[in-house]
């Protein structure tokens, strides 16, 4: 008997709830889920400033670009994020290649540097450049002096035998920075000579770190002498008070383009587009100055920090992002590095 009365009860209860619910209106605030791959304080500042500028609630998660890419891929059948801002360009290109991100042409484009737009075009408009940073290296001047070593100025200097055990770079298999290094050497010296360079470097390397910026952090703490990293990371160490000097290698160098993409299937697509346009504006890019981010902004009108490496003084190569960002070329180079370089005795 209990069942039938129960059912009656539930239906009447449900009925009264309907009336109750219908009388209440629904008002939901706009919101945006923001995946950020830049440094923590920059991410926070971007999120809060966008909230202030638009009134849209921002939910920010900060993870490295590799972790974010892994997450977006894992979530691809049910995307949780809306927009992905920051981090080196390769995973963004990779995401575009796999169809994880969405095509969007922003009205802000005419304000951007050419390299930012060519980044977008090479990915079918699924990503765009927001800042760039040149590859280089930094050294701990105290340790260099303590070991009576000459100051290096070129890539080839690093091959000298006196630097044996003093150079550190990340493992290209685990770090985008190190892959950029590998691809740059191949482009500067040609593939054969580039790999000869990597082999010579291998003899001097004391450790292949996992994370891209770890070599220069170790140099800052006095645990390593020379670290091959993006120059803005080295500048940051110097500005934080560590005895680090930054070098723009004389042969020229490659660079990264920090990128931004809208995630395919975003739940808040409109808000994501608003963020995208806002993040390309000069005032949004000027926020970098407040958090000691020394990359070069992609908006022509945005200011660059005085401490930042002067891009006009650096010999930049014509880095082929489309070719070296594709997964086939990446796999081929990494495999070659694994088989020809990493197995050599040190």
């Amino acid at each position: 008997m209990g069942g039938k009365t129960l059912k009656k009860l539930t239906t009447t209860l449900a009925g009264s709830l309907i009336v109750f619910a219908a009388s209440m209106g629904a008002a939901q605030a706009d919101k945006l889920t923001f995946y950020c791959s830049a440094q923590e304080d920059w991410c926070q500042l971007m999120a809060r400033s966008f909230e202030d500028a638009t009134g849209i609630d921002v939910n920010m998660t900060r993870k490295s670009s590799g972790e974010t890419f892994a997450q977006i891929r894992a979530e691809s059948s049910n995307p949780k994020g809306d927009v992905w801002w920051g981090g080196t360009g390769d995973p963004h290109l990779q995401a575009a290649e796999e169809g994880l991100t969405m095509e969007y042409v922003s009205p802000m484009r005419d304000q951007l540097h050419d390299w930012a737009i060519s980044q977008a075009e090479s990915a079918g408009n699924k990503t765009i450049g927001i800042y760039s940073g040149a590859l280089g290296y930094g050294y701990n001047s105290d340790l260099l002096a303590a070991n009576n070593l000459p100051e290096p100025a070129c890539w080839k200097d690093l091959l000298k035998p006196e630097y044996k055990g003093h150079v550190q770079m990340a493992n290209p298999n685990s770090s985008g920075t190190a892959y950029t290094t590998l691809a740059s050497m191949v482009q500067i010296f040609g593939e054969d000579e580039g790999f000869e360079f990597m082999k010579g470097l291998h003899a001097n390397i004391n450790q292949y770190t996992k994370s891209g910026s770890a070599p220069i952090k170790a140099a800052g703490r006095g645990e390593n002498t020379i670290g091959i990293v993006f120059m803005h990371d080295a500048v940051k160490q110097a500005v934080s008070g560590f005895p680090v000097k930054v070098v723009a290698p004389c042969e020229g160098t490659g660079y990264e383009i920090g990128s931004m993409s809208i995630i395919e299937g975003a739940r808040n697509e409109e808000e994501a587009k608003k963020f995208y346009d806002w993040a390309l504006s000069a005032e949004a890019q000027n926020l970098a100055l407040e958090v000691n981010a020394f990359q070069v902004p992609s908006n022509k009108g945005a200011q660059t920090s005085e401490s930042a490496p002067d891009m006009s003084q650096i010999k930049l190569i014509d880095y082929d992002f489309k070719k070296y960002g594709s997964s086939d070329e990446r796999k081929r180079l990494l495999q070659k590095w694994d088989e020809d370089v990493s197995v050599l005795p040190q």
Partner: protein, 726 residues
């Protein structure tokens, strides 16, 4: 039974069937179009509107049990109907959940059969959850009515419940993840992919014998064996000093051993760098003294070994202290009466009786070392181990999830082999020395030849630990670590500043958000972990049922798998319907429960095997059912085990990192992932200040709980004594 029928109907008719956006605790849905809005409607309203018609068949199993409401349990129809209804409902619920996903049908054969209609559904919400549990428990009641486990409804339901959640949150995600080892880049299945990834030189290379690098698998194995051995020996030394020596600073030593357990990851590694790194104070001091070049000897195997030994010795100590104390003094006295000297007694009586403890301590050290992630990351140098390789296979530039799965399998194989080797070594011998008889003897002191080196080793190691922790506190109060050593409190201020305003306290510090999230998630997870663990332990020790061994294995599985694998498998499994919980606090709580449950299970089994079965039997004879026996007799006697499980799961929830790093989201950021972000960003001061604060918070929590354990134990003993005499 009526209860579960009601629950089932409530779930179907009243509560929103699908997951409500905005989290489990937001009740916004009550006011936005409920119950007609498609997003918030209960199943009944959905189907009445002609939506989600595949939910209609659920009405049949919901209605079926109503037929047998008045019937007695002994009626065979009663059991049959309940089993039928439960199995049908549960089965259909799962089938539709997996069959129809966010983009329509999930399987090609379904598409072939029904075409591709525009149907989709999101993750299960309250309604579906209630329905699922109703079906499950109707099923177990039916099975119990058929006479399984003496027709004991509580035991059958508990078994059914634990099996279901362990399957859902341990087996399912892990199997899902491991399958990807066989998936090619194009999504097809192939054994060759697995083989090519498995027979990789980076995994099994033996280059270190001729100057190159060894594979990660050998590195991990070798390191884990060393760490297991060293921590066991050190743990034994500490245990002997505390129980069998006249050493004066026993208490201080005991307190010191707790510290590494409550230390967030990375901190020990950073302190070691400050001491022994290339520019570390100790290295520089000795380099100056002997006029040699400082080296980077710390990076690689030596550093990882030191850090892991520091971190895991306390675990070995905690395992061994119970066993060393438990060795019956009467046996040792008997040996001495038979003219054995102290050394002979120790070697032939005490030590063999400690074998289970030694084996368990080694096993834990081995597994912890295998799964450890933080220390190899900071100190590993070019020494690759499986856990970091797995992490970078997923997040690194390779993006190779299949490789991660293969590596995870290798790791799992090692840990499980160790588990079985331990069992084989212990064999079926009896190590029981604690019996009901009075045992008032006193442990003999260690023989002098043993006491001197043991006390020396323990003292040196304790001093070393103290120095490392001194460095940590020092690191949190200097301006810039290693460069500018001016004392300052600014890191604490940045992290934990508060402002008093008219509206009350404003938490302005940068760390408060993640701090409160961590505390609340740890506080929610701890009691749940203890509960699940103890119920499981009860089933394992007190009940006999088919498949018990497989069941026990399953509960240990999540402990042996490294957190990174758990993290990724959780994202893959729980980001899509039917269970869609990524980005919520729920997934963090769930991952902590199943990561830490095995400790609750072990603690529970250990204490329950000390309780005489005659207690249960007398309770049952007096007419109590097994639920009443569990609640009134066993549970009160288990308070120490409960608190041990609580402490452990609370502390682990606050210091875990490897799984957490994948599961945190904007709203639910945890302390450890925040600390890592700071370390990455060079804010060592802030990171260490935060860690130091966490250490003190956990010390306070552990102290409080230990205080409670002491009191509860004494109070209960007398009470039980009184009850027994009356």
């Amino acid at each position: 039974m009526i209860f579960w029928i009601i629950i089932g109907w409530v779930g179907y008719c009243l509560l929103p069937w699908y997951m409500v956006e905005g989290g489990l605790w937001s009740f916004e849905w009550l006011f936005s179009g409920y119950p007609f809005d498609e997003d918030f409607a209960p199943a009944l309203f959905l189907t009445a509107q002609g939506e989600k018609l595949w939910l209609v068949p659920l009405l049949i199993p919901l209605a079926l049990p109503l037929l047998v409401l008045g019937k007695p349990k002994s009626d065979p129809i009663y059991a049959k109907i309940l089993i039928l209804a439960g199995a049908l409902g549960f089965g259909w619920l799962i089938a539709q959940g997996f069959g129809i996903g966010i983009r329509g049908f999930n399987f090609d054969w379904l598409k072939a059969l029904f075409g591709e209609p525009k149907i989709r559904q999101f993750g299960m919400g309250y309604g579906a959850m209630l329905c699922a549990s109703a079906f499950l428990f109707l099923l177990t009641q039916g099975i119990a009515a058929r006479g399984a486990v003496n027709g004991d409804v509580f035991v059958v339901s508990a078994i059914g419940g634990v099996i279901t959640i362990v399957t859902a949150f341990v087996f399912f995600p892990i199997a899902n993840m491991l399958f990807s080892a066989f998936v090619t880049e194009k999504g097809a299945y192939s054994v060759f992919v697995f083989a090519s990834k498995f027979f990789d030189d980076r995994l099994w290379g033996l280059g270190c014998f001729w100057g190159a690098k060894c594979g990660a698998a050998w590195n991990s194995l070798f390191l884990a064996i060393l760490v297991g051995l060293i921590t066991t020996v050190l743990g034994l030394c500490f245990a002997l000093v505390v129980t069998r020596s006249g050493f004066r600073f026993k208490r201080g030593m005991r307190a010191l051993t707790v510290l590494p357990i409550i230390t967030p990851p990375f901190v020990i590694g950073l302190a070691l760098i400050l001491l022994f790194g290339l520019s570390g104070s100790v290295t520089v001091f000795f380099a100056d003294l002997f006029g040699v070049q400082p080296t980077r000897w710390l990076y690689g195997m030596p550093g990882v070994l030191i850090a892991q030994t520091l971190a895991f010795t306390p675990i070995a100590f905690l395992v061994l202290i119970g066993v060393v104390e438990g060795v019956s003094p009467s046996m040792e006295e008997a040996a001495q009466t038979l003219r054995a000297n102290r050394w002979q007694t120790f070697r032939t009586v005490s030590l063999p009786l400690m074998r289970p403890g030694l084996a368990n301590a080694f096993l834990l050290g081995f597994i912890e070392s295998m799964a450890d992630f933080g220390n190899p990351l900071v100190l590993g140098g070019n020494f690759d181990v499986l856990s970091t390789e797995i992490f970078f296979a997923i997040v690194g530039a390779q993006y190779d999830q299949g490789r991660a799965a293969v590596l995870a399998m290798v790791l799992l194989f090692f840990t499980l082999s160790a588990f079985y080797a331990q069992r084989a070594w212990l064999g079926k011998k009896s190590y029981t020395t604690v019996s009901g008889k009075g045992d008032a003897g006193v442990h003999p002191l260690m023989p002098n030849g043993l006491a001197i080196p043991v006390v020396a080793i323990a003292t040196i190691w304790a001093l070393f630990t103290a120095v490392v922790y001194g460095m940590i506190i020092y690191g949190s109060v200097v301006e810039l670590w290693g460069v500018n050593n001016t004392l300052t409190f600014k890191h604490y201020v940045t992290a934990f500043s508060v402002r008093f305003e008219e509206e009350g306290i404003r938490w302005t510090g940068a760390a408060w958000d993640s701090f409160w999230t961590t505390i609340s998630i740890a506080a929610i997870a701890a009691p749940l972990t203890a509960a699940v663990g103890l119920v499981t332990a009860y089933l394992l020790t007190r009940q006999n049922f088919a498949g018990k061994n497989a069941f026990e294995f399953g509960t240990m599985l999540s402990f042996a798998i490294p957190g990174t694998v758990i993290g990724v498998s959780y994202i893959l499994a729980f980001n899509v319907p039917p269970i869609e919980i990524t980005g919520t606090g729920v997934i963090l709580v769930v991952s902590f429960i199943f990561r830490n449950m095995p400790v609750g299970v072990r603690a529970g089994i250990a204490s329950m095997s000390q309780l005489d079965r005659s207690l249960d039997e007398s309770s049952l004879t007096l007419g109590a059912n097994s639920w009443q026996t569990f609640r009134r007799v066993i549970l009160p006697l288990l308070k120490p085990a409960i608190l041990a499980a609580l402490v452990y799961s609370f502390v682990r929830a606050m210091t875990a990192i490897s799984a957490v790093i994948f599961l945190v989201s904007a709203e639910y950021d945890m302390a450890t992932s925040y600390i890592i972000g700071r370390v990455e960003n060079n804010d060592y001061g802030l990171a260490i200040a935060y860690s130091t604060t966490l250490i003190f918070v956990m010390l306070a929590a552990v102290g409080l709980l230990q205080f409670l354990v002491g009191r509860v134990q004494i109070g209960r003993r007398t009470q039980i004594g009184a009850e027994r005499t009356t």
